[in-house]
Symmetry: C2
Subunit: 224 residues, 2 copies
């Protein structure tokens, strides 16, 4: 074979291996989310993914490593959301523009967190927090805390541009997050398989959260 053919073969093999890895991860996620860590075996993951058990072990080592990879998949979701936060607020320069941008951001944030797959992953991590405390802490850091940090950066920028008040700004990110998510997320942990919010409920909750947030965090009008 020519070098070019060798390269092409290597690329195809790499592509197949990546494809298998992806299929195994998807199967493992589905099984872990529905059956938990103890209720899932490497054998079942292999059967569900349509690969040999040896392939699963070759790719992931053991069940705990496979589980960690699934749980830390939250990193990609949180990073993508955090990038979107910065993007959504670029060029916001008036109170009216800020108001509209916050309402759009709130809708997206609430819908993302209340996604059934996201809720199921949270339940799974909480279920295994006693067995894997470091993994649960890592999930928190890379998921919820990562998003709160992105919001804190965003709000600090808005304070610097006099679009939010400086007083109390250190807590603006958790105020926004939990006015918005608090009740639905809490209820969502305990109601399995029932949607907690309708699309209209998402809109109402988002608008009310922004109203309360701005009542506390908008700059005070200068006294004349």
């Amino acid at each position: 074979m020519s070098d070019m053919q060798n390269d092409a073969t290597a690329q195809t093999n790499f592509g197949r291996s990546e494809q298998k890895r992806h299929t195994i991860l998807q199967s493992a996620e589905e099984l872990f989310l529905t059956r938990g860590f103890n209720g899932t075996s490497m054998d079942e993951v292999a059967v569900h993914a349509g690969v040999s058990k040896q392939t699963v072990y070759n790719q992931f080592g053991d069940k705990e490593r496979l589980f960690r990879e699934i749980v830390l998949g939250v990193t990609a979701t949180a990073d993508a959301f955090a990038d979107g936060v910065t993007e959504a607020m670029r060029g916001v320069d008036t109170p009216a523009h800020l108001d509209a941008a916050l309402r759009a951001l709130a809708r997206r944030y609430l819908a993302t967190v209340m996604n059934p797959q996201v809720l199921a992953l949270r339940r799974l991590v909480i279920s295994e927090a006693t067995r894997f405390p470091d993994l649960a802490a890592a999930y928190y850091e890379r998921g919820p805390a990562r998003v709160l940090a992105a919001l804190a950066d965003l709000f600090a920028g808005l304070v610097a541009r006099d679009l939010l008040a400086a007083i109390g700004a250190a807590r603006a990110a958790p105020d926004f997050a939990f006015l918005l998510l608090g009740q639905a997320l809490d209820e969502g942990m305990f109601r399995v398989g029932e949607p907690v919010l309708t699309p209209a409920g998402i809109d109402d909750t988002a608008d009310h959260a922004v109203d309360v947030f701005l009542a506390a965090h908008a700059p005070r009008p200068a006294s004349s």
Copy 2:
């Protein structure tokens, strides 16, 4: 034996049986909270409680019924807290009095929810929410939702006395609850065995939550 002696014997037997029941519940709670539902056996509960396995079965039927009784123990905690909410606000009739009463209530609410035993029970219920969805929903109704309902009653009373604004009052209870609890409770689900808040952190969080709550929900001053 005289009738009086019969009564005394019956009372002593009843007292012993109640005492055993209490000891079994305490042992079962400790085991379920540290080892989960699957990791706990009726044998272990009996050994831990120092009673026979037969006594455990006679009192509770089977492991699932024992588990349900532990989980629904939240009812007593929530009822006691809800009674305290009404009590704490009795006679509040000025904005300054309301401010102080809300700060005291917020400290107690946050400290109650962040109690390690309460957090562990929440984690346990979430862990078993897929297996026992009706039990998880009942826990939510009798615990968190019960407290939110007591707060909603409280705030409706304050609106009627013009101490809170009517606009947005329907969401005053979850606003108060999640401004206060949201971040700590979220983090507390993922950090096992590490206290999330110091006593000073509880005070700061409570004061900030009340500041934001009143910025949004205090009546607007009449324009002069």
